[in-house]
Symmetry: C2
Subunit: 336 residues, 2 copies
């Protein structure tokens, strides 16, 4: 079935308010889940919504947690997320980073004690819509081994880099430090497919494209092998040090769920130094050059990060957001 | 042979001054090349020095180019590198970013019209020695295909993330966006070895571990396949937009050598918010956890980025820096 964005957002909002979430927080959360679904990232949009309700019902996410600035120096702020809704905390933190950038060139908000921010790319799009370049990342629970080790000790710590174009066709990279998300590996296994490139280890300790073997070993591969392992580690350290919050190690030892995360939102406003035409010109020159490559597979085109979203968004806006019947039914029952 | 660090530095300095490099610039450049060699990164230290002289002699690097701040907003500065010595420009830019961070929490210097900064990690160590967290990166000439394309259109754009520990054992990640440097691929070919993991494409368009085939196709693999391709692109865009300088595309079309680069240096001083003991505690907790992993290969240990340098540095400080006789001879002839 397809649900219109407005109806979806209203439904989410109503359910959240029914869970003691204040209406302003409910509205931001509902908008984030809906926007993510509009952009075609259903796994972190409509399909993920029931898990937030489960976490609210369990008491591991605080429905009334409101993020607070606990320290500031220059344009660098440290926030405490009060264990509130992760996508709301992240939206407010990025908004503040953009405010600081609009005033003074750049702003950074590091937030501790927050929860899953859902779709990482959302905060890149948010900043780019405000004309800002953004770098942001989150840590996660331990879900990837350190290079040379067996047990999951690192997070996949998604990193986002966004660059604004004045026509709204922003370049937005949303890149976890694992080669594949667990959801992608599960889907390949259910469809009896091999992964297109190696995604982890089998139970004998060999690198493999077999999704079932990776699920058995629970050892996913970092991007670039040792390089992604290092990147994941440093992103975690910077997030925990700047926010004063939990590291991946801490999340793994202090909680049974993936909660209490640390995040960094950095926004830089290039309009202090460049006209919009200058920034657009740089981006266009590079994208045109890349897209003029000879395709490695004849007939295929070279895409840039964020290019796909625009088409899906327009389609879902016009026709409604596709949702599995049973998912929407389950969500409607949460209205209780 | 082994050359004492002090002698090496004096030799470099003398040669540079003989090429019309002002003595203060010569000193910084000589120190950078020597320190890099001390840390065991000979490819970007002593072995690379003759190429700088070649570029000075050709006139593509300006011996008297002195970087200049051309715009400032808040703690964000844009510099013009005046086509001067790349490792000197980068040292001065990172130093300024650290000054800004010491004052106000964070500082960013984006520099255009600069040249090869030699060892990327040097600027991470530099910032960490001043107690700062650093993120910095450079663009390069086109040397890697965009995902889905054949020709080199992207740079390998090394990214550095550094985190300071008060005992000097900093965590410093130095990570190019290609899986292997061309130098590593060449060395594997000369030793008739396969790469440990796939590093590029063969001439038939298949992904391969064969270094000779990759050299023939000139198609190296980005870390994480499509992910590293996206990362490389966004790093280039941010560097060019913030510095107002050349993109990878521009470097490839405007110059025959790898010159006229754009770089970003971001420093954040955590001491405004954390005591040193707090920051050290976070790092130690994570490193201990990671290093407690069961080794994937029995008997091997799990290393963190930057761990290896310390041992090499102490050894080379005590015994002198190892240099091939013919390399040192060639360098001494440059004194002429």
């Amino acid at each position: 079935m397809r649900i219109q964005a407005q109806e979806m957002q209203k439904t989410f909002e109503e359910i959240l308010i029914g869970r003691s979430v204040p209406s302003d927080i409910a509205q931001i959360a509902a908008r984030n889940f809906t926007q993510t679904s509009l952009d075609g990232v259903y796994s972190h949009g409509v399909n993920r919504f029931p898990r937030l309700i489960e976490y609210l019902d369990k008491g591991v996410v605080n429905p009334q947690g409101r993020p607070e600035c606990v320290a500031r120096v220059g344009n660098l702020e440290r926030w405490d997320g009060r264990m509130g809704l992760g996508n709301v905390n992240a939206t407010l933190a990025m908004d503040r980073a953009c405010d600081l950038a609009a005033e003074n060139g750049m702003g950074l908000v590091a937030i501790a004690n927050t929860n899953h921010w859902m779709r990482a790319g959302a905060y890149g799009w948010q900043a780019a819509n405000r004309g800002c370049i953004a770098l942001c990342w989150t840590n996660t629970m331990p879900n990837m081994p350190a290079w040379g080790g067996k047990e999951p000790k690192l997070g996949n710590n998604p990193l986002v880099v966004a660059i604004p174009q004045s026509d709204g066709n922003h370049v937005v990279l949303d890149c976890a430090m694992s080669q594949f998300a667990y959801g992608k590996i599960e889907m390949a296994r259910m469809q009896s497919q091999q992964l297109p490139v190696p995604g982890g280890w089998d139970t004998k300790g060999n690198i493999t494209t077999d999704p079932a073997e990776i699920e058995r070993s629970q050892r996913v591969l970092p991007i670039g092998y040792w390089k992604g392992s290092g990147l994941s580690l440093v992103l975690d350290l910077v997030a925990a040090i700047l926010s004063g919050g939990n590291t991946v190690t801490d999340v793994g030892t202090r909680y049974t769920e993936e909660v209490g995360l640390s995040q960094v939102m950095l926004a830089i406003d290039p309009s202090h130094m460049n006209t919009k035409a200058m920034t657009d010109g740089i981006i266009q020159r590079v994208l045109e050059d890349i897209q003029s490559s000879t395709p490695a597979q004849p007939g295929e085109s070279i895409r840039y990060p964020g290019q796909r979203e625009k088409k899906v968004r327009a389609e879902n806006q016009a026709q409604g957001i596709p949702v599995l019947d049973e998912v929407w039914e389950k969500i409607c029952q949460l209205k209780g």
